[in-house]
């Protein structure tokens, strides 16, 4: 049956060796009768491979996807191209059906990949050390804050900005809620500067958590913030976009102490939000407080170079309640994919990818800027994401129209400006983003797709009547 091995003969022989009459007998010895389930589980009947494949193929076909729709959605997950070699390598059973390399001798493949991944992340970030992965970008940001709090035991304030990814801030609130720490969400400056944020940093500030490019696609003045933080003894944590680093300065080169990122963009499928890849790197000196597994280099008994899990005294299986984090299973397979992806791109491929994003985003902005109905909210340059205001004040119907026309046009920001987060900040996003949507343009988008997007959106039903150019 399905994947079981034992034939009736096997079962008989095995029970004989055990000296039991039945498996039930073994169970009865341990599981009190009163708590045994006396009925079959109420689940759908078993289904064979043919029927299940057929059925789920039909179910899958009911979802819009990048295979059926042109995707301009971003907000932390992006429709970047995944080279075929990434899929082929990651689908090798030796990778995806193995587990944490507890036995280094028969896990040198995974361990070397982890070590290479860590090195690639340090090359990418300009920081000294990386772990082997965390769950995703959002939880990585939170782990970075917890790490900063544990380094800065005397400081209890965490400062962040209202244009850091709203979901990341939601996570942070949950994690900080039960521990002794204060979360301060600073309103972003309209001009894109960071003066309000910088002013909020004080003696009690453990860390400043920023995102650059931030949630609304603007590049933050990271160096300035990091300098200010350092001046008052706080740590700087930056959420970065790996793809932006073909052009933008690396976190480590701007004074950032801990850099975190969502690594989905590095060769990992969108998969409705997961599994994704939490990237985390930090300055060398902070390594003993880094959460998560780390592979390191050593030599074997014959002096041969090899790799092992190391600095395990940080981890839960050794330190239990004194560990830097509770993480056990992580996202190794996605770190592998990211490593293959970065190896294929190299410095020049990464730069080309950034440049394509920049060029196509700039083009898309110009198209929106020229459309009567729309306003590009910020005039600062973008890597791949920007906010558009619908002067027609009908973002939902506009997105619905786009979807009918085979496009996923953007993320409606209005709900986030209204939704009260459970924590300190009154809403997840500043109210200026009402009637706005967030558009992401990756290297996969084409000119004609962008043109079509604008023209389809232009024609969608609207609530407010849009002023003409001349009336401005």
């Amino acid at each position: 049956m399905s994947y079981l091995f034992h034939t009736d003969d096997d079962r008989r022989e095995m029970l004989a060796s055990i000296g039991a009459g039945s498996v039930q007998e073994i169970i009865d010895l341990q599981v009190p009768d009163a708590v045994q389930l006396k009925r079959p589980l109420r689940l759908p009947d078993s289904t064979d491979e043919l029927n299940l494949t057929r059925e789920l193929n039909q179910v899958a076909a009911r979802n819009a996807s990048t295979a059926t729709h042109v995707c301009f959605l971003g907000g932390g997950a992006y429709d970047h191209f995944i080279p075929a070699a990434v899929d082929e390598i990651a689908s090798r059973g030796e990778y995806y059906t193995s587990y944490t390399p507890y036995q280094a001798e028969v896990s040198q493949g995974n361990l070397q990949v982890m070590f290479e991944y860590e090195t690639l992340v340090t090359q990418l970030t300009g920081l000294g050390v990386s772990n082997a992965s965390l769950y995703d970008g959002g939880s990585a940001a939170t782990e970075a804050v917890l790490m900063a709090l544990s380094i800065q035991r005397q400081r209890r304030k965490v400062i962040t900005s209202d244009v850091v990814h709203p979901q990341y801030r939601e996570i942070l609130e949950v994690y900080l809620h039960n521990i002794d720490a204060e979360l301060v969400v600073v309103a972003s400056d309209a001009d894109g500067s960071s003066s309000t944020l910088v002013e909020a940093i004080d003696e009690n500030t453990a860390c400043v958590l920023i995102q650059s490019p931030n949630f609304v696609g603007r590049v933050e003045s990271v160096s300035q913030i990091a300098d200010a933080a350092k001046a008052s003894g706080a740590l700087t944590i930056q959420c970065f976009d790996p793809i932006s680093l073909g052009r933008l300065k690396r976190p480590g080169d701007m004074g950032v102490d801990i850099a975190v990122a969502e690594g989905q963009c590095l060769g990992n499928p969108l998969a409705y939000g997961g599994p994704y890849l939490g990237i985390m790197a930090c300055r060398d000196e902070l390594v003993r407080r880094l959460p998560g597994r780390i592979a390191g280099q050593t030599t074997d008994r014959r002096g041969k170079r090899c790799w092992v899990l190391t600095l395990q005294t940080r981890e839960q299986h050794i330190r239990r309640d004194k560990a830097t984090s509770n993480i056990c299973s992580n996202q190794t397979l996605l770190a592998l994919r990211a490593s293959v992806y970065l190896s294929l791109l190299g410095p020049h491929g990464l730069r080309e990818t950034t440049d394509h994003c920049v060029a196509k985003t700039a083009y898309a902005k110009s198209v929106f800027a020229n459309a009567h109905r729309f306003e590009v909210v910020h005039d600062t340059p973008s890597i791949k994401e920007f906010v558009v205001r619908d002067l027609g004040e009908a973002v939902p119907s506009l997105l619905a129209t786009a979807e009918e026309n085979g496009m996923l046009a953007g993320i409606d920001l209005t709900p986030m400006t209204q939704q009260a987060s459970s924590g300190s900040s009154p809403s997840l996003l500043p109210s200026q983003y009402q009637n706005c949507f967030l558009v992401a343009v990756t290297e996969q988008r084409t000119r004609s797709e962008i043109d079509q997007l604008a023209s389809v959106l232009q024609s969608a039903p609207q609530l407010a009547s849009v002023m003409t150019d001349t009336s401005l």
Binding site: D10, V35, L37, N178, L245, T310, E315, I327, C328, K360
Partner: protein
């Protein structure tokens, strides 16, 4: 015949000017980067990643893969990890673009097929656990523990109860106390008794007004179902605390007994173990949690809800929700595999899975106990823990030596030195997807090893590319990344 060159470090294969992935010129004008961005924000050179050809990359990573043992290639009786066969149909189906290429910010209306699966999965997990409230959000077992503890904390806060202590078993996985600490609780340890079960006296002593949660693993990490479960249940609940079930060992009890029926109030699943989502070399997993109805209002969002009237699936966040514990919905790719797995077996099939898992473990136990001491009896659930203590005394062969030598026989090693309550622990979980022939061969290998010369075993493994790496130096003088300065590999032969 091994290709040593291709599996040098990526950075040693680097050759400036080599290219793999390249893009043609864009079909839009290329703006000047220098003009567009603030000079302070941009860097002159891209990051110093290695420069490789596509053939380099493929040969490198394909070559490295063959240095791993894996379920697809080896018997992998790693206790507590449930290394069962990973069905290929799961991979195929979860990779369909309608599942794998869906953006997390799409409108619910555009992902009804996927939400249907996830909604059904919520119901299945509730049925299997006997606990009706389900959140699919957590990213792994440990994350599930943490999330459930956040839920417990919110629950007690909502009742104005100040319960600050979480009790964990001394045989518990390290994630239990670590999660409790992260969730803001104090932790205390409850001892195991001589039978390897919860020491009831110790539990009773430690339970109090301030106890929020007792974290129980059942079957526990010794592979034993705690017969005292009804008493534990009573003690904990009488103290006004909740029982958390670490569901890592659910593979033993599917359809046999349900956590909700034996007293658990909250639990997590490890679908990458129980429901065959592969382990990915360390992850990804998932850690969906199930809770009693009175805890459900505190679950993180989003949860999939069926609007019966419109027959559409919506995402909801419960009123009193703690919030969210990660970005987006959850590890959907892993959850889908769990869904496919459950659909494949159906209810009767899942019970059969557990029965065969129990059968396999007891059969192997019946062989191994003639070779090694098995301190906690000759019956177990899905796994058992032997001890190499006697062997170590007699011939100097430790649990570690055994683990290393068994690799030479073509088997992955059992988990060793866990749980901590057994000296020189050798924790064996064969799973239901291994043949009797394989179990026989494994027992035979163990037996042979106990007969082998000490040196042969101490120096093992002999058939692997490397043997007995120096962990101490690795930790004392950590080398955590490649750098040009590091001495390059002494080449293999």
């Amino acid at each position: 015949m091994r290709n040593q060159q291709a599996t040098q470090l990526l950075f040693e294969l680097d050759r400036p000017g080599r290219r793999a992935h390249q893009l043609d010129a864009p079909d839009v004008p290329m703006p000047s980067i220098d003009a567009l961005f603030d000079v302070d924000d941009i860097s002159q050179a891209p990051p110093p990643l290695p420069q490789l050809a596509e053939g380099d990359v493929v040969r490198h990573f394909v070559g490295l893969s063959t240095l791993n043992m894996s379920v697809d290639t080896h018997f992998y009786p790693l206790g507590s990890c449930t290394m069962k066969y990973n069905p290929k149909r799961n991979e195929r189906i979860a990779s369909m673009p309608g599942f794998a290429s869906v953006h997390p910010m799409q409108a619910s209306s555009s992902v009804q097929g996927l939400l249907k699966c996830l909604h059904e999965l919520q119901g299945m997990l509730a049925e299997i656990s006997g606990l009706p409230g389900v959140s699919l959000q957590p990213a792994a077992g440990a994350h599930g523990e943490l999330t459930a503890l956040f839920v417990a904390a919110a629950y007690f806060q909502s009742r104005g109860e100040n319960r600050r202590v979480v009790l964990t078993a001394d045989s518990a996985h390290g994630t239990n106390p670590a999660s409790a600490q992260m969730a803001g609780f104090e932790t205390q340890t409850v001892k195991s008794n001589a039978d390897g079960l919860v020491d009831l006296a110790d539990l009773e002593a430690k339970l109090g007004d301030d106890t929020a949660v007792f974290m129980l693993t059942n079957p526990n990490t010794l592979g034993l179902f705690d017969r005292q479960i009804e008493r534990i249940n009573q003690l904990v609940h009488d103290a006004g605390a909740l029982i958390y079930l670490d569901g890592a060992n659910m593979n033993a009890i599917l359809g046999i007994t349900r956590p909700g029926d034996f007293g658990a109030d909250l639990m997590h699943y490890n679908p990458h173990k129980t429901f065959s989502g592969p382990h990915g070399g360390g992850g990804p997993g998932a850690g969906p949690i199930c809770v009693r109805d009175f805890l459900a209002p505190f679950l993180p969002g989003p949860i999939v809800d069926l609007d019966e009237e419109s027959e559409t699936f919506e995402l909801l966040t419960p009123e009193q929700s703690i919030g969210r514990v990660r970005s987006f919905f959850g590890n959907v790719g892993v959850l889908l595999r769990a869904y496919i797995y459950i659909r494949t077996y159906g209810g009767d099939g899942l019970r059969r899975v557990s029965e065969d898992a129990v059968l396999g473990a007891n059969y192997l136990l019946s062989k191994v106990r003639h070779i090694l001491d098995v301190p906690h009896g000759d019956r177990c659930m899905h796994e058992f823990v032997a001890s190499a203590t006697r062997l170590k005394k007699q011939s100097g062969v430790s649990a570690m030596d055994l683990a290393k030598r068994i690799l030479d026989y073509g088997f992955h090693a059992p988990t060793v030195y866990f749980p901590l309550v057994v000296d020189e622990a050798v924790m064996v979980e064969p799973t239901e997807t291994e043949s009797k022939q394989t179990l026989d061969a494994f027992a035979e290998a163990l037996f042979r090893i106990t007969d082998e010369a000490g040196d042969l075993v101490h120096d093992a493994p002999h058939s692997t590319r490397i043997s007995r790496p120096d962990d101490v130096t690795a930790a004392r003088k950590p080398i955590l990344k490649w750098s040009e300065a590091e001495p390059s590999s002494s080449s293999d032969s």
